[in-house]
């Protein structure tokens, strides 16, 4: 940037809300609405008289009627009072509080701009982008072969779901299937990943609301899963294990014993957590009726996963749009109707049980066979074949230099990640790199619903409500 650092330029104020919804792109109208006297102020000179509502970090004005009216009209129900209290306090009573981006309870770099009336939250504006690294642009520069390496770093607490979603989308465009054993391994690994993610969530959320022992227990049990991941994939996170065409390697010898150990260990721990938390009067006080979301808000904002299922919407991608043969295993989708932090705990604890139920079935019925497709255009040949066959050497060379070409087309694939519906919209133009990869991260929608969740609650409940949403900034900012 060519400006000296103490000159503030750019669009500092949100465009004024036009009456009647006139388009913002109208020539002449928009730029003047966006400009403020503050833009021209150079620090060191006399400051403009009216500096309320501005910092050097961008728009500070919140929109009074952002979505309450839209929601009411859309749902035909009474979802109002999200932003406006009955009596508007005078300017002296309102306090603006910035939480984050370095606040420990945001679990990442989320910034909340909170408008307070005493201890009551009037409005909240989430400000994101602090972790944006342009991974969707990066995806366009990597081949389909390399794609999972990139997407696995997005939602870094359930990396295998990212890889699975990308692989399913690529395979859909290619029109290939994977062997039964590959599908079963994928289900096994992603369900274990869900368990690990929920355990970590229980641990950090427990910490946030004051249950320090929960923090230690959650990490302890999660370690069982991570050890198994390390043994299978070589890494504890960012595995690059599920790839288009199958998985990178077969399960290690004796994996059944490890899985049995995980199931027994986590189930034993789960009993501890429930007796530790669910009847504890302090815990009840801090979670019951806190951060409530109505089913109408769930639908309008596209909230999925445990948040939706705690609010009475029993949508689960695994049941609605089954993938990787997950429909052949018995499991239930827990649904609670309270919509508060307490019910989100119940949903996630029960989901851990259901995931372990799936894992147990996969362990008992693991089919024999290949762990990746034998289509040599997509998966590299076994190492031994390269010494024997010119054809195999050529395939190996082509795959690791150019990658494989994917027919032109577009597809949307979704999987149920630990946080909700993780979708990828993949466009190919017939080359060996994606033309466009859009990732619909569940946390992105969940950050967006925070204003509705927090409005009219107490400032002390912010931490519990925010933690219960399980927003992961790697998933939000990408």
């Amino acid at each position: 940037m060519s400006n000296p650092p103490d000159v503030v330029t750019g669009d500092l104020e949100a465009p004024a809300r036009t009456q009647g919804g006139a388009p913002l792109g109208e020539p002449g109208a928009a730029p003047s609405a966006r400009r403020t006297v503050h833009d021209l102020w150079v620090s060191g000179t006399e400051a403009p008289s009216d500096m309320r509502g501005f910092t050097d970090e961008g728009a500070q004005e919140m929109l009074a009627d952002e979505s309450a009216a839209v929601l009411a009209a859309q749902t035909g129900t009474v979802v109002v009072d999200d932003y406006l209290s009955d009596t508007t306090p005078s300017g002296d009573d309102i306090q603006i509080l910035n939480m984050g981006p370095q606040h420990p309870a945001t679990h990442g770099v989320l910034r909340l701009h909170i408008e307070l009336d005493g201890e009551t939250i009037r409005r909240v504006k989430p400000i994101i982008g602090y972790l944006h690294t342009g991974m969707e642009k990066t995806a366009e520069t990597l081949s389909f072969m390399q794609g999972p390496t990139n997407v696995t770093r997005m939602d870094y607490l359930s990396p295998l779901h990212n890889e699975l979603c990308f692989s399913l989308a690529t395979e859909h465009l290619l029109g290939i299937g994977v062997p039964e054993r590959a599908s079963a391994i994928r289900v096994l690994m992603t369900e274990l990943n869900r368990v690990a993610s929920h355990l970590l969530w229980s641990a950090t959320t427990g910490l946030d609301i004051g249950a320090l022992s929960m923090m230690i227990y959650g990490w302890r049990e999660r370690e069982l899963v991570l050890e198994f991941f390390e043994k299978t994939t070589g890494l504890r996170m960012n595995h690059n294990y599920i790839r288009p065409g199958g998985v990178a390697a077969d399960l290690p010898d004796g994996w059944e014993v490890d899985v049995d150990g995980i199931i027994a260990g986590v189930l034993r721990g789960l009993v501890d957590y429930e007796s530790l938390l669910l009847d504890n009067p302090i815990f009840l006080e801090r979670t019951k009726g806190v951060g409530v979301l109505a089913p109408e808000e769930i639908r309008a904002y596209g909230v999925t996963g445990p948040l939706a299922r705690a609010s009475g919407i029993g949508y689960d991608v695994r049941k609605a749009f089954p993938y990787s043969g997950i429909e052949q295993y018995d499991f239930d989708v827990p649904v609670f109707t309270g919509g508060d932090v307490y019910d989100r705990f119940l949903v996630r604890f029960e989901e851990i049980r259901q995931s372990l139920r799936i894992v147990k079935q996969v362990r008992d019925t693991m089919p024999r066979g290949d762990y990746r497709t034998d289509d040599r255009k997509v998966t590299p040949p076994p190492r031994a074949r390269i010494d024997q066959s010119m054809e195999a050497l050529i395939h190996h060379f082509k795959i690791f230099t150019e990658g494989f070409k994917v027919p032109a087309g577009e597809t949307y694939q979704a999987v149920e990640s630990a946080r909700g519906e993780l979708g990828m919209y993949l466009v190919s133009n017939g080359g060996h790199k994606p033309w466009r990869l859009h990732v619909r991260g569940p946390s992105f929608a969940h950050v967006q619903v925070l204003p509705a969740m927090l409005a009219d609650s107490l400032i002390a409940d912010t931490i519990a409500a925010l933690a219960s949403a399980d927003t992961l900034m790697g998933d939000v900012d990408r």
Binding site: M1, S2, N3, T9, G10, D11, L12, P15, R17, G21, A22, P23, L24, G25, P31, R35, G58, A59, L63, E66, S67, V70, L71, Q74, I128, G129, H132, G134, E136, K137, T141, H172, L173, G175, R299, A300, Y301, G302, I313, Y315, K319, A320, F321, G409, E410, T411, Y412, E421, G423, Y425, V427, W435, R436, H438, R440, A445, V447, Q448, V449, D477
Partner: protein, 187 residues
């Protein structure tokens, strides 16, 4: 006639397509709001996703893609509207789905598509002063310039990316009063 065909029948210029087994309704940019509204009334009331695609050489240049979901019965539909490159403007669907708010801001931020009628169309992922829209196909992939001693275009004492070194991280004109307008014209 199934639900999706019924939605398309009520929207002028809409056509149903099958994209590898997934239902797609292609609509004109003017009809996107009407199509979203019709889909919502037909039961696709769960907003899932909105994103943009830059086809660069195609006319219209951009696609705005809206993913909707019906819970009972489980079914997806995708609305795709082509947006021309020289006038990348389309009406916002935040009036139909409140959840489209952040997604439209993201598409505006990364592609420079203006959503008319959006309540707060500001950059969401990038800093407010950013010039250009990086997910456009004509935006270069960023890189960290490596300066070697003796390099023809490096003067001792200058910092990496300083003007005149030929290694600007961000291409384009100097930021002006309305950065994205200028960047649009430059492309």
């Amino acid at each position: 006639m199934n639900r999706i065909e019924a939605i398309a029948a009520g929207v002028p210029g809409a056509a149903v397509e099958d994209s590898l087994g997934q239902a797609v309704i292609r609509v004109t940019p003017e009809a996107l709001v009407a199509a979203a509204s019709a889909a919502r009334d037909a039961g696709f009331d769960f907003f899932v996703d909105l994103c943009a695609v830059d086809h660069l050489t195609r006319d219209p240049r951009f696609d705005v893609v809206v993913n909707l979901l019906s819970l009972e019965p489980p079914e997806r539909v995708r609305l795709i509207a082509g947006v021309p490159g020289d006038d990348a403007t389309i009406a916002s669907i935040t009036g139909v789905f409140a959840g489209a708010d952040f997604y439209e801001r993201e598409a505006f931020d990364l592609f420079g598509i203006e959503f008319g009628g959006h309540p707060d169309l500001t950059r969401i992922l990038l800093p407010d002063e950013w010039v250009g829209h990086p997910l456009r196909k004509d935006a270069p992939v960023g890189s960290v310039p490596v300066q070697f001693k003796g390099s023809a275009d490096w003067t001792p004492g200058t910092s990496v990316g300083a003007p005149g070194t030929g290694h600007q991280l961000m291409a384009g004109p100097v930021p002006s009063a309305d950065p994205f307008k200028e960047a649009n014209q430059a492309t």
